[in-house]
């Protein structure tokens, strides 16, 4: 992460979103909305005085999935890059009610800027790599049998990661949300929202088999005399050293039960999981202190709109569509726009990194040329015939046509009139404009009326 921030060739823009893209391969104009940070990061040293003194302290920490609290001015997590804080405007009393301003007073470098505003910035680039990743499936909305999120001790795998993380809010101690006690028995359920046509997604999320094996191992490793149950449909370990990793988890004593959990309900301060053990062919009941759901990966919020803004498509599940599933896995249908990571479909880190490097190579390949040949089969305009009616202009799906002034010598000296003009870089040669022109001023090179009529005539001989 730090390597990215420190690289002289990388300009980092956080709290920023792409709002508009125009142009074409080699020549994109991208408009970015840089959101207000309320802190001048050039002055800020990241000393932390501000967030220590900020009185708005009771805000749910989203990064830790609500395990801890945070202040209004804050860093997302201690090792955040860039390592500077920003003010969450919705929760800052100075920005909402005009009261407080403590951070401004305590900041030793006078870096606080309450008057900071969102701004629009335009970047001129030649290629775009999409790497917007994934979100997790909202199981609370559909999985009633798991309690719709009502049982505090039924959590997601990402929540479990925050618990078990040495740098996390509990310092790596596994405790359950309801009473803060260390669970003796933890049950894991895989494929929650994945491979479930009725309630979730039809696809496999690919990383869950492996991270659940990791989690089960971590329970056995960190909690003495603990039980880890894993409810599964299949165990898929197709990856280098993956099967061995899973075996290690089994050897640590994790108990794998083949079956889908049909119901979870509380009994005392514990949870009961009802399932079928399909290998034994009989119903089974397991009591656990905590349940961890491996939820499906879904496209990140706003991904579909972003694809539309840039001009390429998404697949049936909303992930970015690659140009060809086998032969062009990092290209999109939009030339010069490439894909990396989970935005293209669920994947784990090794696959993500491999695809990211592949996308980078595509970009470098493009950049190894200084110019790009353009397809010559585009529209040409006969200025003598064009009446300047402008009918063709709105027809072009690529905005390649416009009206421009033409000077010509008339009976009474030079005069000007408007005629259609084509931007050769934008014209894709689709020919949609041709029938719109009543004066036959437009012609598509390589597919002229004369050529097509000759073909028709030759076939109908």
């Amino acid at each position: 992460m730090v390597a990215v921030a420190q690289h002289p060739n990388i300009e980092l823009r956080t709290l920023a979103e792409v709002v508009k893209v125009s142009g074409y391969i080699g020549n994109f104009d991208v408009t970015i909305k840089q959101k207000a940070k309320y802190v001048d990061w050039d002055l800020c040293t990241g000393c932390g005085t501000c967030w220590e003194k900020c009185p708005s302290k009771k805000i749910r920490n989203e990064y830790d999935l609500g395990i801890g609290l945070r202040t209004a001015i804050h860093k997302v997590f201690p090792q955040a890059v860039p390592g500077k804080p920003y003010i969450d405007a919705a929760n800052c009393t100075k920005l909402t009610k005009g009261k407080c301003g403590i951070c401004e007073k305590v900041c030793p470098t006078q870096a606080i800027r309450f008057d900071d505003k969102d701004e629009l910035i335009t970047e001129e680039v030649g290629a775009i790599v999409m790497a917007t990743g994934y979100d997790l499936f909202h199981w609370e909305e559909t999985y009633g049998e798991y309690g719709y999120g009502k049982y505090p001790d039924v959590v997601s795998s990402l929540y479990f990661e925050r618990l078990v993380s040495a740098g996390g809010p509990t310092g790596g101690k596994i405790v359950r949300p309801s009473d803060g006690k260390e669970p003796r028995s933890v049950a894991f359920i895989k494929c929650v929202g994945s491979r479930d046509d009725t309630k979730g997604k039809s696809y496999c999320s690919r990383a869950c088999c492996m991270y659940t094996a990791k989690h089960a191992y971590q329970v056995k490793d960190k909690i003495a005399d603990s039980e880890a149950y894993v409810f599964y449909m299949d165990v898929r370990t197709a990856g280098k050293n993956y099967e061995e990793f899973y075996q290690r988890s089994l050897n640590s004593g994790a108990r794998y039960i083949r079956g889908r959990v049909s119901k979870i309900y509380p009994r005392g301060d514990r949870l009961v999981l009802k399932s079928e053990d399909t290998l034994l062919g009989m119903p089974i009941e397991v009591e656990a202190d905590m349940v961890v759901l491996a939820t499906a990966m879904v496209p990140s919020e706003g991904a579909a709109e972003l694809a539309k803004t840039i001009g390429f498509s998404t697949d049936k599940d909303g992930f970015f569509q690659e140009a060809h599933p086998k032969l062009q896995p990092v290209e999109t249908f939009s030339a010069g726009v490439y894909l990396a990571g989970a935005c293209q479909g669920p994947k784990d880190i090794p696959d993500t990194v491999a695809q990211a490097s592949a996308a980078a190579v595509k970009v470098c390949g493009l950049f190894s040329k200084t110019e790009l040949a353009t397809e010559p089969m585009i529209v040409e305009i006969d200025s003598d015939k064009c009446s300047g009616c402008g009918f063709c202009v709105p027809i072009c799906p690529y905005n390649a046509l416009s009206l421009a002034d033409l000077s010509y010598r008339g009976h009474h000296g030079t005069a000007t009139r408007e005629i259609a003009e084509v931007n050769p870089s934008l014209c894709q040669g689709c020919g949609a404009c041709i029938p719109a022109c009543r004066t036959l001023a437009l012609s598509l090179k390589g597919y002229s009326n004369e050529q097509l009529v000759a073909e028709v005539d030759a076939l109908c001989l």
Partner: protein, 70 residues
């Protein structure tokens, strides 16, 4: 005139968009699917290029059917 009259060879002109229908016709070939040989395909850069004039021209010259696909 009956279609299953074997002696009749209709002239069918297809205007096929290079990116979809033309590619699909190639795919049909790749899979060795079969269809009547009376079909003659003209490649267009996009179905947007279609001009009603071309359809009329084909009929005018004696085509029995015209298929626009894109």
């Amino acid at each position: 005139m009956s279609i299953d009259n074997n002696s009749w060879n209709p002239k069918i002109i297809v205007f096929a968009c290079n990116w979809c229908t033309y590619a699909a016709a190639d795919l049909a070939g790749l899979n060795h699917l079969q269809y009547p040989a009376d079909v003659r395909i003209i490649r267009t850069p996009c179905s947007g290029r279609m001009d009603p004039m071309l359809v009329l021209r084909a009929f005018n010259r004696g085509a029995d059917g015209v298929l626009l696909s894109g």
